[in-house]
Symmetry: C2
Subunit: 513 residues, 2 copies
């Protein structure tokens, strides 16, 4: 393998960083030195720079940090290694908490859906029929009715809802499931963001009327707010244009965050179905007066895209930066060993670990026989929010040294305040991650009043729109972007950017994933 | 609807039971009376008797207790309603605890497996090719390579293991996943026991040599012991005969429990693969001396059958009896309301609930506007292990009244010892469930020395066998049962029950699910 100029330069930079780091933590007896960093840079080629090639940086990072393994022999179906799966299931745990607290019940419906059930709602089929996988055979037998792999579960659940729901006393019905779903994507795939087997959350509700379904959507937005806070992912809400709403929905609210490369990423979508599904699936209830009425329905969907957003929004050139609430490891302890004192330092480190774990803080103690610098490198790549270092001097001074992953802030705190201080620092990290991400959005929204140069602009473009579909399509063509929709709670008086008609409808337009 | 004689009789029995019950708890002001039971018996037809028609009792009970809903339009693919799903995921939680404690890591591999990978291990294919579902189309496109729905994940994981495992330092590799798997069953399906979409646990390990793989199997048996203890499901271990081992395995240890109807139900299976998969999938490692060697592998599988076993082994004519460790609701509190004292009783009940929940005990407070008898009926059906009753007299006496679900034992304990006493009673319930189930097995094993009448016998038949396959098949034919295998840790000197050859090999033979 020949050494390219580019590579040599990268190693040079790594060496420089290694030196700076060594100087910074020179108070400890055993410091990482340039040799460590140079060795790492040669052994593992450096991560691409986030602001130079976001896409490459993302793809490399998720494999390097062991969030995803893309070497499975089917394109768009990736393996979740332990670290990535832990992050995903920690996110699931937070979703469950919020759903359970709002009276949703977790269920599990079968993966396979008979073609006959799938075909009952016309718009829905039109939306999905090109992208479902079909099971046609069992063993050597051709199945009488082909079965499809759920792309989402409306058509699996609603025939059963028509049995479950009998009277007003059964309403509201609020259920959710966290499952694998499938889409036969023909576009380019990207781990977590566009995949063919999707780890998916879906809540489905039935209500006595439209108003009660609207209340549900408000509740969903509250749930979204809480989950987003934990993931440190601020977002914009936009009611999708009619031609881009969920297949079969009455309306769709998209929840989008903004990636640092200026593209919007949908984190969730919330749908008001009205009676669009309850009519074809015959989901009715008896009112208190003995009338039969159709239920009104809503759904709320999120997926592994949340992981993609966490990677893209928070990460840096050294790796992931994980939000403390869902990080598989919240704290890593690195014993800084001096000759002859290894044992006492490790024992003390073990006590720290025990104390933190008993306080419910997932803590890793790294006792590998490696220089501290190599360990720092690993845990930075994996985005552990807080690193504690403990050397003989810390023990003597009765303090613990720490380094924040989000901003490299270093400091010490009294040993006796371990749990309190760690929790405080983790809270500060969450706050900082949220604020940084919020500023990406705040700085990323640009109001425009003509479409010149819009193709080249990144981020979210805000403009006035008359509301006509024809003007909407012209906006999408002229900007080479998608209309996210009419932002919720945002007002704008102006003239339609296409036809000049007076309007009070603002829209957000952005490049999307 | 006409009333059959049978039904009238059933109602009569229910009324009688209701009366007895009413007498028993007559110390409370508001007792359930015969009207409640009669009403329930009419509204919901009585559960079949467990010892009269086990199969019907099982099928009815799991729907009645809302463990499973079989009205999904594909046979053998059932819905998990909230209560059943909670029980299943509580079991998963206990499995995860044990796996994590023994250094297994949870991962997730894709559901779909390319035919090309599946075909690499010959025995494995032979075993599964008749019972896999095939995905042949994406949208309208025929797939170039057909994909199958995992019946188990050897052929999904092992091509990747060949990349993951490089050197002895990567070993042992110990991973597991909890996923949906699929078998195109052509036999009669039965909820939890023989289904087409299976909720499945599978652990896969790689080792430097056969001995280390054997140590893993010992560890698996320890894990099994701990999980079985929590589910109150004793079992027998038997090394399956060669013709019945897992497709591709070197040997298989079956873990079977005995249902009260005398049929064995496999709870788990543990497999030594030796190099049978590592050779075709080329999973090798570099030893410390620089040699390349094939890894030795093991797997450990369990499924939703654990739920089926809990239902069948513990339940009674009034419904489920759930093991406290995994019951979705461990304790139910029924306020016994006296006129004018409703509020104070409910408030006190709420305090009990809070205290128990803070102690980590899932507790339901049933404040529905129903007579206590109706509530008792419901929670008995759902198998809640412990019922607390709280009336004005209890509050006055500063005690809590309780009824155990497993043996109807009633009593009171001091209000101040709530958490301690509840934990003690739950422990006693677990112990009793275990002992009762153990006695089903102990009484269910019969040693025989000739095959006359064996067809009519139920339970596990123990006999001597020479070890020859031909004699094995003759035993299976003559008994109309299956050989579970050679029991682990059981000795027997005797003559082969078929050919009379002297032998020291005992086998267990039983009707199986």
């Amino acid at each position: 393998m020949t050494m390219t100029i580019e590579k040599t330069e990268k190693i040079g930079k790594m060496v420089k960083r290694g030196k700076m780091m060594a100087e910074k933590i020179v108070q400890n007896e055993n410091v990482p030195n340039e040799k460590d960093y140079a060795a790492l840079a040669v052994n593992e080629k450096a991560l691409p720079k986030k602001n130079e090639d976001f896409s490459e940086w993302y793809n490399e990072l998720i494999e390097r940090a062991q969030l995803s393994d893309k070497r499975y022999p089917i394109k768009g179906m990736n393996i979740w290694p332990a670290y990535g799966w832990k992050l995903m299931t920690n996110i699931d745990r937070e979703i469950r908490k919020e759903c359970d607290a709002t009276g949703h019940e977790e269920v599990y419906f079968p993966l396979l859906i008979p073609e006959t059930e799938f075909k009952k709602e016309e718009e829905h089929i039109k939306g999905f029929s090109q992208e479902v996988y079909w099971v046609t055979h069992g063993g050597k037998n051709k199945l009488e009715i082909p079965l499809l792999l759920r792309p989402t579960s409306e058509t699996a659940m609603y025939p059963i809802f028509s049995i479950w729901v009998r009277s007003h006393a059964d309403l509201p019905l609020k259920i959710y499931q966290i499952v694998n779903t499938f889409r036969y994507e023909t576009k380019q795939t990207r781990a977590f963001i566009r995949v063919r087997e999707i780890h998916f959350f879906e809540a489905h509700t039935c209500h006595v009327d439209f108003e009660d379904a609207e209340r549900q959507i408000k509740e969903d937005l509250e749930i979204m707010k809480k989950i987003a806070k934990k993931l440190c992912l601020p977002y914009v809400l936009a009611r999708r244009p009619d031609w881009d709403k969920f297949a079969g929905a009455y309306y769709t609210i998209g929840v989008d965050t903004l990636m640092p490369n200026g593209k919007a990423l949908q984190l969730a979508s919330i749908h008001q179905y009205k009676e669009n599904f309850s009519k074809p699936y015959n989901i009715t209830y008896e009112t208190e007066n003995g009338e039969r009425k159709y239920v009104h329905q809503t759904t709320y969907g999120m997926s592994e895209r949340l992981v993609g957003a966490i990677v893209g929004v928070h990460g840096d050139d050294r790796g992931l930066i994980l939000p403390p609430a869902v990080a598989p490891i919240k704290v890593v302890i690195i014993p800084i060993l001096a000759k002859g004192k290894q044992e006492s330092v490790e024992n003390e480190a073990r006590l720290l670990q025990k104390e933190l774990q008993e306080a419910g803080l997932e803590t890793k103690l790294d006792t590998r026989n490696l220089r501290p610098g190599s360990k720092f490198y690993d845990w930075e790549m994996k985005g552990v929010p807080l690193r504690l270092e403990l050397g003989p001097r810390d023990i003597k001074d009765n303090v613990v040294s720490y380094t924040r992953r989000d901003n490299d802030e270093k400091g010490t705190f009294p040993r006796g305040e371990l749990v309190k201080k760690v929790n405080e620092i983790l809270d500060k990290i969450s706050e900082n991650l949220w604020n940084r991400a919020q500023s990406i959005i705040d700085n990323g929204i640009t109001q425009i009043d003509n479409l010149g140069g819009a193709k080249e602009q990144t981020g979210i473009l805000k403009m006035a729109w008359c509301g006509k579909e024809s003007c909407g399509h012209k906006i999408e063509d002229a900007t080479d972007k998608k209309i996210l929709g009419v932002p919720v709670g945002v007002s704008l008086k102006g003239k339609c950017i296409v036809c000049g008609e007076e309007t009070e409808i603002p829209i957000y337009v952005a490049g999307t994933y």
